[in-house]
């Protein structure tokens, strides 16, 4: 199913991207020439796609190889995303489980409604709040994320903490909601009742019977969020002036640097697909029912 999805999604998106530049280039003849846009659409698409597969991303309009323009930012964005995930995943799962155990209580409403509201507030708004409070007000963190070259891991984390926190705010609600829903379902299941009636302490019941079952769907959501995270990165990197893939894409879009834009967006698409694939694999590895069902 994943392979099918991949096959469906990639050409569709690339076609859209090829069409996008076209509409714009009608007025920009010089750029047209450079891109060989006078060739038939399919030929062009094939040329670009086949060279993408072999790792040749072409040249940006400033005559730098696209791979050069994109590789460093991709690594930089990876660091930021990793930090955000390291913070948000345990936090959101804990929040979701706590909310589920105290379902209907004030704590539950605070986590559920608060989490979802936090999710709906744009990343740059969080960024402004955090910069004003933690960077300007308390002077705890720098206002930009671009750490000096050769900075130690701890300095890097210090610089990346505020941007990561913005992403955490946006992601927390989704993951916590999934963890909450999964836990509530598991709490109501027959095996949980059996375990409780068997006389097991509540702590053991929750750890051994509830959590094992409830966290499965959460893992799938976490991986899906990795794709959405890329969208958030675009905005966060801009406001914190961080040289990541998101900023590279926005700059390419503003400068109409079509090769960089195409490859950058395709890279994000690939990251998204890989994340979905990993989610599916993790899901089947962790879930005995799916694992055993597949081997039969």
């Amino acid at each position: 199913m994943i392979v099918f999805l991949a096959a469906q999604v990639l050409p569709g998106d690339v076609g859209r991207r090829i069409l996008g530049p076209f509409a714009d280039q009608a007025s920009v003849d010089a750029l047209n020439e450079q891109l060989g846009a006078n060739e038939p659409l399919l030929t062009q698409y094939w040329d670009w796609f086949s060279s993408f597969i072999t790792g040749d991303l072409g040249e940006s309009v400033q005559n730098r190889p696209v791979s050069d323009v994109l590789i460093d930012p991709l690594v930089a964005s990876g660091k930021l995303a990793l930090l955000a995930f390291v913070i948000v995943v345990p936090l959101a799962i804990l929040g979701g489980v706590v909310a589920a155990i105290h379902e209907g209580s004030f704590r539950d409403r605070l986590i559920s409604v608060g989490g979802l509201s936090a999710t709906a507030i744009p990343e740059f708004v969080w960024a402004v709040f955090f910069i004003v409070i933690f960077a300007l007000g308390l002077g705890l963190f720098p206002t930009t994320a671009q750490f000096p070259d050769g900075a130690s891991v701890f300095t890097q984390i210090e610089y990346l903490f505020l941007p990561a926190l913005c992403l955490v705010c946006v992601l927390f609600g989704y993951i916590a909601r999934m963890a909450r829903a999964g836990t509530i379902e598991a709490l109501e299941a027959d095996y949980t009742r059996t375990a409780t009636l068997k006389g097991l302490p509540r702590r053991t019941v929750i750890r051994r019977h509830v959590l094992r079952n409830s966290l499965l769907p959460t893992i799938a959501v976490v991986a899906t969020q990795a794709g959405y995270l890329m969208g958030g990165l675009v905005i966060i990197e801009l406001i914190f002036n961080y040289q990541g893939i998101g900023q590279a894409i926005v700059r390419a879009a503003l400068q109409k640097d079509i090769p960089v834009l195409q490859s950058g967006v395709l890279l994000i698409g690939i990251v998204y697909l890989v994340a979905t694939l990993i989610a599916d694999m993790l899901y089947s590895v962790l879930n005995p029912r799916v694992r055993l069902g597949a081997t039969e």
Binding site: Q8, F124, V125, V128, G231, V234, A253, I268
Partner: protein, 304 residues
């Protein structure tokens, strides 16, 4: 102030109810009445309506109320800190931040609801068709929908904005088209259960035309999920519209849009000039929270 915003929230729901009433007179009217009663008692709905109502008033009458012209720049008095004269200070071009925040409600409150209405209309039609027909129509449309959903909304929006050239209309179209598939999935799921019910078979046996079955029979019965989805999506379209404007691919200068204001002034924040970015950010946050509170109230009233 608590009295004025309420009609704003009430009409929003009111526009949807006549359709329900029209289809199955007695039952539907009672159900609608119950839902409205539930809504009126919902604390989050009332709180949300007050917040959103405040911004709606600002959007409509803001220009008459603000102390200064939100577009008039005054380069000598740039980046003045908040004072009695400029309540929220002035921005990089010396424009009054308070006036710009108040009047800035207009752009987002035009774009987000229109985009969401577009998405809901298109998404509902798609959902009805895919859910009712199944088969190859469903397959083809579902694949296209998956393709659209495969990339983060902001990035898709950015690409389309680059292709079409950024403007308010483009922004509405982008959000409408990107959200339609999401809404169609919700509607499709609801239609899948409705189509098996007896009243649909009855209509089919009466030899009713398919459009009538879809829009006359099924639509009124899936109105609940659609209204809930509409309010939830409204929050997200504010999110996306503000994000794209911030990136420079949404509403264009010199409009006093909030996202744009942050974009124009975030460069000076590290110099300690927090006011031209903080106040529009607060405005976005309150509007989003208000819409979410409304969505929360609507969801608990409409989902049994």
């Amino acid at each position: 102030m608590s009295l004025t915003p309420e009609p704003a929230g009430a009409t929003e729901i009111g526009t949807a109810s006549p359709a329900v009433v029209g289809a199955h007179p007695s039952d539907a009217r009672v159900a609608t009445k119950e839902r409205l009663a539930l809504l009126r008692r919902s604390k989050s709905f009332i709180a949300g309506s007050i917040i959103v109502g405040f911004w709606v008033l600002c959007a409509i009458f803001g220009e008459l109320l603000v102390p200064k012209d939100p577009l008039a720049s005054d380069p000598i008095n740039d980046l003045l800190s908040p004072s009695a004269d400029n309540w929220f200070g002035t921005d990089k071009l010396g424009r009054d931040v308070f006036s710009r925040v108040i009047v800035g409600a207009r752009d987002i409150l035009i774009v987000a609801p229109l985009a969401t209405i577009l998405a809901t209309v298109v998404g509902t039609a798609l959902g009805l068709v895919t859910g009712y027909f199944r088969g190859w129509v469903d397959d083809v449309l579902s694949r296209i929908i998956e393709a659209i959903l495969a990339l983060p909304t902001i990035i898709m929006g950015l690409l389309v904005a680059v292709a079409l050239g950024p403007s308010r209309t483009t922004l509405i179209l982008i959000i409408g088209v990107l959200f339609a598939p999401i809404i169609s999935r919700t509607v499709r799921a609801a239609v899948l259960t409705e189509r098996e019910l007896e009243y649909v078979s009855a209509a089919r046996l009466r030899n009713e035309r398919t459009p009538y079955i879809l829009f006359g029979e099924i639509l009124p019965n899936v109105m609940g999920p659609i209204i809930v989805e509409f309010t939830v999506r409204l929050g997200y379209s504010i999110f996306v519209a503000a994000g794209l404007s911030f990136l420079g691919f949404g509403i264009q200068p010199p409009a006093p849009d909030w996202g744009l204001q942050v974009a124009e002034n975030y460069g000076v924040i590290s110099g300690g000039f927090w006011w031209p970015v903080l106040f529009p950010s607060l405005a976005i946050a309150t509007l989003v929270i208000g819409v979410n509170l409304i969505a929360d109230g609507v969801a608990s009233a409409f989902e049994r």
